[in-house]
């Protein structure tokens, strides 16, 4: 089948740009983020934190803080109002008699003002007995390494798997075929240990922020800058046993997966709210966000890859060490996705033993970050793939096209079950088309060969591919109501409004507006006539939230099904009123017409019984059989004297099935440049002072980020092959739009410099070291 033969629907709204529902509020400053919101009688919270990465708490003296005027509560492990636990699997209580990372909370303060809370924190005196610390996952497993939770995790090794995502039992290894035999028979073999271990910070511009209020009867309401009220509720109720939580979210100032749940902050605010019986606002300072909030997983891969003479990967054998930092929170889900994504990239490989080992260390706690395990493993795996491709002198474009998952290929996903891809037939074509637009054929000169050299400046190119079958993960439901405008004067009215009821938080993706858009498409009415309920867990039908690029299918499918259900009901009622069969009717702008005699019609507003609405229901149940694909290309210029790398140009390509909103998609592709993706290969890292265990970047001056005048040109190429997912044939892509950029960047830097640069990030020091100049 050729792409030109794919049926391309001509939608009224879908595929076009529609300004977001909150666009005017955003550009006029009226959009509400958490810190723009207050409650009466609200107190302000601050946290006393550990200065040591591993230490016993000998004594805490809070007397001076408690005596300070305006202080309403000081909570420590000794007077915590309720028991709270941390970790999935649970492996500790919120307050322990020791600390396991710099920045771990040791006491919480609620006061009448932030200034008083700050002063009180300074008055808390804590005596510590320092313990030896460990900062690398592979070292933490060794005999004699400091033990974080000796009663729970032997050798700091976390129980494998993630029961919530793996109902058939823990899954943490890809095991099939005979990798040893395949490696012996392989034409090309490469082994290496590769780190993607600098645990960069997603650094959302809006800090993690919570307001907690205790309602009595073991119920809390939390207003949160969380990306998903559902995930936050799910995890928080597990970590605060016996309590029920209702979560309300606002516009979220950047999430990138990182602010989905904010459990430590939520528990902190809840404890203070319980202790004071007043609402408590807790907002992390930027220093706290950078040095003690969750960062990207650490990752070390020690593996061997075998490839045949045609460039097909035939064997993968190795271990992936995953650093959780001080607490493991459901990392087994990320590991499952990472292993799944590795199989999508190397889908023709039949011989695997890829083990994984999650480890706790005394580094900053890791958590969910855009890329969700896949980016971490891919950044190691594709770098090792470069070594074996170089041996065979293969063009990486050819290899990645051949090895990527095709329609019908099998793979295991995060639940350990095996799926067969029902996805696009066109992924290799997308890779080729994107490469052609990038000029790959002209720029690719071979391995370790620069594209061009001008004085001390050498240019090189690299590419990467990654995919994700999480685009249909987790269940979601939706109710759509067609609500006639109230007509108290009985003048016949005629107008209807549509309300989409599902729980979607706006953190930048535009899916709240897209939900309205697809409902408007189904009803064939203006998008302005459709609205969506405010985000929050209490009154909305269940929606897991926007993660894993799931929003496109898992939100828009139930919305479109619910809209179609309501529409079907309206058409059936109209059929009786107009005395015509349903298939002779059509709906436009909330009027139902007879097809050949449109003068016979009825307004939808007259179909429902007075005071009632027409209600439709839709749901999505999870599957993992439609993987996405993202191809990226990068050209860099390296100064061979200074080791400085500049990005000259980027290109990205995908088959999205069907574009829902053209500009929203374009920005999801651009997003891979930010949120700890591209620049994790160039300059982004959480620098750790290993002598003290303290993160060294504690402000946005110290933490490096890409500025407006450093943004490289970006070419996006998007195919729409109408993938069989739901009514609108679309899939999501944002989770992985930048996930292959790190490995592609190291490939490009290596080609520019002529030496293999394999350390992330390739700062000038790393580049010069690889070149033997430092």
């Amino acid at each position: 089948m050729k792409f030109r033969d794919v049926k391309q629907p001509n939608y009224r709204h879908v595929g076009k740009y529609t300004p977001r529902k909150d666009a005017k509020e955003i550009v006029t400053g009226k959009a509400i983020f958490l810190d723009d919101f207050s409650l009466p009688h609200m107190l302000y919270a601050r946290t006393k934190r550990s200065p040591y990465p591993h230490a016993k708490i000998v004594k805490i003296d809070t007397s001076a803080a408690q005596a300070l005027e305006g202080v309403r509560a000081v909570v420590t492990g000794e007077n915590a109002p309720f028991l709270s636990v941390l970790g999935y699997p649970v492996h500790r209580t919120f307050f322990e008699d020791k600390v396991c990372q710099v920045g771990e909370p040791v006491a919480l303060v609620a006061a009448d003002s932030l200034e008083i809370a700050d002063e009180a924190v300074d008055l808390i005196k804590v005596e510590y007995e320092q313990l030896p610390a460990v900062f690398r996952a592979d070292l933490a497993r060794l005999d004699g390494a400091p033990q974080l939770y000796p009663d729970r995790f032997e050798h700091n090794e976390v129980d494998p798997g993630c029961p919530y995502f793996q109902p058939d039992g823990a899954w943490w290894q890809i095991k099939r075929g005979n990798p040893d035999k395949a490696l012996k028979e392989a034409a090309f073999v490469a082994s290496d240990k590769i780190d993607f271990n600098q645990m960069p910070c997603p650094a959302a511009p809006e800090a993690p922020s919570i307001i907690a209020r205790y309602e009595g009867n073991e119920v809390f309401t939390l207003w949160a800058s969380a990306g998903s009220s559902h995930i936050m509720k799910l995890e928080l109720e597990a970590y605060m046993p016996g309590f029920t939580t209702d979560i309300v979210t606002f516009n979220v100032g950047g999430c990138y997966g990182n602010k989905q749940a904010m459990l430590v902050q939520a528990i902190s605010a809840s404890m203070l709210a319980h202790a004071t019986k007043q609402p408590v606002k807790l907002i992390l300072s930027k220093a706290e966000q950078l040095t003690s909030f969750e960062v990207r997983l650490g990752s070390v891969m020690d593996a061997t890859i075998g490839m045949d003479k045609d460039g097909i990967v035939t064997a993968v054998k190795g271990t992936w060490f995953v650093d959780n930092g001080s607490v493991c929170n459901a990392t087994g889900g990320q590991v499952g996705v990472g292993l799944g994504e590795a199989q999508l990239v190397l889908a023709k490989c039949e011989n695997w033993f890829m083990d994984s080992q999650m480890v706790v260390t005394n580094r900053q706690q890791a958590g969910i970050v855009r890329g969700y395990g896949g980016q971490e493993l891919n950044s190691c795996l594709e770098k090792l793939l470069c070594a074996v491709m170089q041996q065979g002198n293969f063009n990486p474009l050819d290899v990645l096209k051949k090895n990527y998952v095709s329609h019908g290929d099998r793979y295991q996903w995060r639940d350990g079950r095996t799926y067969r891809s029902r996805s696009s037939f066109f992924f290799p074509e997308v890779m080729q088309q994107t490469a052609d637009r990038f000029g790959w054929a002209e720029k690719w000169k071979g391995w370790m060969k620069p594209t061009s050299v001008n004085g001390t400046k050498a240019r090189g190119v690299g590419m990467g591919v990654i995919g994700n079958a999480d685009v249909q993960e987790d269940n979601t439901e939706c109710i759509v109501r067609v609500i006639p405008k109230l007509d108290v004067q009985n003048i016949g009215g005629g107008q209807c409004f549509v309300t989409v009821e599902t729980d979607v938080t706006e953190s930048g993706m535009g899916q709240r507006s897209n939900a309205c858009k697809v409902a408007a498409e189904v009803f064939n009415c203006p998008v302005e006539w459709v609205s969506i309920t405010p985000s929050g867990s209490k009154f909305n039908p269940s929606n897991f939230g926007l993660c894993g690029s799931r929003g496109t299918i898992t939100t828009l499918k139930p919305v479109s099904e619910a809209a179609a259900d309501a529409k079907r009901k309206a058409m059936e009622i109209a059929s009786h009123k107009l005395e015509r069969p349903v298939d002779q009717l059509y709906m436009k702008d909330m009027v139902i017409y007879v097809r050949d005699t449109p003068e016979i019609n009825v307004a939808v507003s007259k179909l429902a019984d007075r005071e009632l609405s027409i209600v439709g229901y839709g749901k999505h149940t999870e599957k993992f059989d439609v993987p996405s694909c993202m191809t990226v290309f990068i050209e860099v210029e390296v100064d061979l004297e200074t080791g400085h790398t500049e990005v000259v140009r980027l290109a990205g390509g995908t088959d999205i099935g069907q574009i829902i909103d053209s500009k929203a998609l374009e920005m999801q592709l651009h997003g891979g440049v930010g949120s700890a993706c591209l620049d994790t290969a160039i300059f982004e890292e959480c620098c750790l002072d290993e002598a003290s265990g303290r993160p060294m970047a504690n402000s946005m001056i110290d933490y490096k980020w890409r500025t407006f005048n450093e943004i490289p040109p970006y070419d996006a190429y998007v195919m729409e092959s109408q993938i069989d997912t739901f009514m609108f044939k679309a899939i999501g892509i944002g989770e992985i739009s930048g996930a292959a950029l790190a490995s592609a960047t190291l490939m490009a830097i290596s080609n520019a410099t002529g030496v293999s640069v394999k350390e992330y990030p390739a700062t000038p020091r790393i580049v010069l070291k690889a070149m033997g100049k430092a």
């Binding site: 001509n10 516009n251 990138y256």
Partner: protein
């Protein structure tokens, strides 16, 4: 104006007024300066005055050290970081925040409208600062070059990467042609010699029919 000294005069020439008057978004505000309950303290930042005292919450607090631009506002024509500016220093000055850009009669500022037209934001948290820095640039130079725009925004952090659409919007306002930093190509637009289809009758295939550009329908 009666003034008082913040520190003994032999150590500093800094004088802090007893009261200050500012024009914020065309409204005049007068504050007493001091340590009283409702006074503007000498250490109060403009950001706190705007957000906490006056509920102009459009300006966002983010880095707190003047590095990210989320809190940018315009003071006497210049973009400044409100988190690094002391309110007590602004006596007699004019402050414009994002809330003050929309004209009651003319509607949205052209920059605001361009941001909507080009979808020049994602999460929107950094957008207020980006718009205000852009506005300050355009107030001084109605037709900045693409490079001048990029340079002006070099202090504005955006983690979602709205950069490309922001620059698209601002280049449009500036009248810069051929300044596009990103291309977005839909494969369907490149299909050569598309297969002719029936004349379009209905807009939406799922609403009331099925029409395709390139199919045999």
């Amino acid at each position: 104006m009666v003034t008082k000294t913040a520190v003994p005069p032999q150590h500093s020439k800094v004088v802090i007024p007893d009261s200050i008057t500012l024009v914020i978004n065309d409204r005049k505000f007068k504050f007493s300066v001091g340590d009283g309950a409702n006074d503007v303290s000498p250490s109060e930042t403009l950001l706190d005055t705007l957000r906490k005292r006056l509920q102009f919450t459009g300006s966002k607090e983010s880095c707190g050290v003047g590095a990210c631009g989320c809190c940018a506002v315009i003071v006497n024509g210049d973009a400044v970081a409100a988190c690094m500016t002391l309110t007590a220093d602004l006596d007699g000055k004019s402050v414009t925040t994002l809330e003050g850009l929309e004209d009651a009669k003319k509607g949205l500022d052209p920059i605001q409208q361009a941001f909507i037209d080009e979808y020049a934001f994602q999460c929107g948290y950094c957008t207020p600062g980006i718009i205000m820095v852009s506005k300050a640039l355009f107030m001084k130079n109605a037709h900045p070059t693409p490079d001048e725009i990029r340079e002006a925004l070099a202090g504005n952090y955006c983690r979602c990467i709205s950069h490309y659409t922001v620059l698209r919007a601002l280049n449009k306002v500036a009248g810069n042609k051929d300044a596009e930093l990103s291309n977005f190509v839909r494969a369907v637009d490149l299909v050569e010699d598309p297969i002719p289809v029936a004349e379009e009758m209905y807009h939406s295939p799922y609403a009331n029919g099925h029409v395709c550009k390139h199919s045999l329908d």
